[in-house]
């Protein structure tokens, strides 16, 4: 972590709760440290967006949004988020399939709906200013509604933020990604901003 305040600047009560998180997850993940620091400024308001995007969707499964999170992270070259969200996705999908999707979305053996969505998110991540209405057409062709598209875009939006925080602040890579992945799969993102 490049800022000392994100290591040591939390309140006494937050530090106590971090001990519990450490027992459950093996460590205090960087996003929790950032979203808890002066939480009124950012984390208190951002965490509900993240949780909404990742666990309160109507058109996508947990496995699908975790694949989207990992895929956006891969395209942002964010090693931290990529590792953790591949680990979450592996709770749902075979490792071989997850890796195939991450390495080449165009040839990965997945249904058209998810494939065109990930291709769209790739462009939105890497080259957003080049997006036009024409990029919406493939999404329509596979029958995606505006709501379904918006839900996928919320995942891309939220991870566009977290990826940048992870890399700018230099989050330490998870020492036990499988443990973190299992925890996030089962418990979601409700603990993302610790009160106190």
């Amino acid at each position: 972590m490049r800022l000392k305040i994100l290591k040591n600047g939390h309140t006494f009560l937050q530090k106590l709760q971090f001990r519990v998180i450490k027992k459950m997850m093996g460590e205090v993940p960087g996003p929790i440290a950032v979203m808890s620091y002066r939480r009124q400024f950012f984390g208190k308001h951002f965490a509900p967006w993240l949780n909404q995007a990742m666990r309160k969707m109507k058109h996508w499964t947990i496995g699908e949004v975790e694949l989207m999170a990992a895929f956006v992270s891969k395209n942002n070259e964010c090693q931290y988020c990529y590792g953790d969200h591949v680990a979450v996705a592996k709770n749902v999908y075979e490792e071989k399939l997850v890796i195939a999707i991450m390495e080449d979305i165009d040839t990965a053996p997945i249904e058209a709906k998810l494939k065109v969505t990930l291709q769209f998110l790739q462009k939105l991540t890497v080259n957003p200013s080049a997006l036009t209405k024409n990029d919406i057409a493939p999404l329509r062709e596979v029958g995606l509604s505006n709501d379904a598209i918006q839900e996928a875009v919320q995942v891309c939006g939220a991870f566009s933020v977290v990826n940048r925080l992870a890399d700018a602040f230099d989050f330490e890579l998870s020492s036990q990604p499988a443990k973190v992945g299992r925890f996030l799969f089962k418990n979601g993102y409700g603990l993302a901003s610790v009160k106190g």
Partner: protein, 101 residues
């Protein structure tokens, strides 16, 4: 939900609110048009540009340089959060507009 976050990150803080507002607009413009006005000081401009376009290239000395230039850790925290948030928010808004057309 996004409006609440904007109100908060542009509200009371330790860095100048105007600077956070300019940072937000700069990153929004990078997302939408791939171009933006420069921020002052130049070091901050370079840093925000890097966070917006390829945050994985940020290195220790980028933040150290900001500290040497007089930015406190809390100011760097706020400006980084603002730049990162703008990168996500602008993408969501961009697609909302494409879907509305």
């Amino acid at each position: 939900m996004l409006e609440k976050i904007i109100l908060s990150i542009l509200g009371v803080g330790k860095s100048k609110s105007d600077l956070r507002k300019q940072t937000l607009e700069k990153v929004r413009n990078i997302v939408r048009r791939d171009t933006s006005d420069d921020l002052a000081p130049a070091l901050l401009n370079t840093y925000v540009d890097k966070v917006a376009r390829h945050a994985y290239k940020v290195v220790d000395r980028d933040l150290e340089a900001l500290k040497t230039d007089g930015f406190s850790e809390d100011e760097i925290f706020e400006l980084t959060v603002t730049a990162a948030f703008a990168a996500g928010e602008a993408r969501v808004k961009l697609v909302t507009e494409l879907l509305a057309d």
